[in-house]
Symmetry: C2
Subunit: 214 residues, 2 copies
């Protein structure tokens, strides 16, 4: 399967969590099997797209039967690495850091928060959901004695490149970047950015266009 | 320009905020003019891509001169609707709602927060950056007497579809949706979703693939 997955486009990969979400909802509603046609109607995509996407990972459907929901849900979870027991730390205990630390949905999907770091005296020692906020100077020692797979960056863009480099040097595997800058050229580490302002501006473009069309 | 913009693909639109961000950084560094080649090196895309993207909106560059940074910055801001004076309200004053209300970056880009709503007694009347949290029952009256362009949905997915419908009925132009569900089929209104768990799972996929490759 490794060979096949390498060729998968980022567009397909970005759709996988959405399949996972819809299949999870089906399971909750005790739906055990579904045709690509039914799934496509619920998701608002074509059945052919679903078949194509899932074929990138080897299929999973059976002619005339459709998909076994639980099996497909688990397979996609496996492809997404949700059973790897990945651990996270949050850098930045500001408003966004707090919100992310308090978001229990990530743990439901298998991501365990193990540490929170900041530089501001006022927040060091504070506990968020039972996890103590530590000073960023403790980062190296902490990661040497605790497995940390993902660094969640919830700090302003100034200084974030240096933190990205430190985390990469410490063997952290990926960065979930909320700082409003791209880290691609910063350190040799996988980065997934959430640029909230970019998303809001995209919405702004769309409603501006709609108003122009009226 | 309206005619031309209609044909612009979502991929190009999603790159516009990034151009805006890089141009803003150039301006801050007093760089007044830049070639598409220089800009492409900074942004890690090809010069041809930049020229193609900007040509969707009528160009802006001059052969042998490059781009006037301030002019291009303002033009893209204009295309994105950043000078329209769009107003926002946040539905949900939980951790994420607080973080979004306290995020001053959105106002810097022209989006003014005018109201916050919740259903929980404990938070009604609380002030976040000078804005009082109101009960959701006041939504209709508030929007009738205040211009509201964008509804920011920071509530759990249960009940979000009903809120989306109420906001659409009240003439709100767009929804910035943080609830973990798609609202496409919910109400006839422009929706831009930020699915944080999907983004984290995409990162998880990438680091899983990298580990498999080792």
């Amino acid at each position: 399967m490794g060979e096949q997955q390498k060729k998968v486009s980022i567009a397909v990969i970005r759709r996988l969590p959405r399949y996972y979400r819809y299949l999870g909802d089906l399971l909750k509603n005790d739906i055990t099997r579904i045709s690509s046609k039914e799934l496509s109607q619920r998701m608002g995509v074509t059945a052919s797209q679903i078949r194509q996407d899932l074929n990138c990972f080897g299929g999973f459907g059976q002619q005339g039967y459709g998909y076994n929901v639980e099996h497909l849900y688990k397979e996609i979870g496996n492809i997404l690495g949700l059973y790897k027991g990945y651990t996270t730390i949050i850098i930045g205990a500001g408003h966004l850091g707090h919100a992310l630390a308090n978001h229990t949905g990530f743990e439901k999907r298998g991501f365990k928060l193990v540490g929170i770091f900041d530089i501001k005296k006022e927040v060091i020692g504070e506990e968020i959901r039972g996890i103590k906020v530590r000073h960023i100077d403790e980062l190296e020692d902490f990661i040497k004695s605790n497995k940390v797979d993902i660094g969640i960056l919830a700090i302003p863009k100034e200084g974030v490149c240096e933190i990205a480099q430190r985390l990469a040097n410490l063997g952290v595997k990926g960065l979930w970047n909320f700082s409003y800058t791209d880290l691609d050229l910063c350190a040799p580490i996988q980065v997934e950015s959430v640029h909230l302002s970019d998303s809001l501006m995209t919405l702004s473009y769309q409603i501006t266009q709609n108003s122009n069309d009226e």
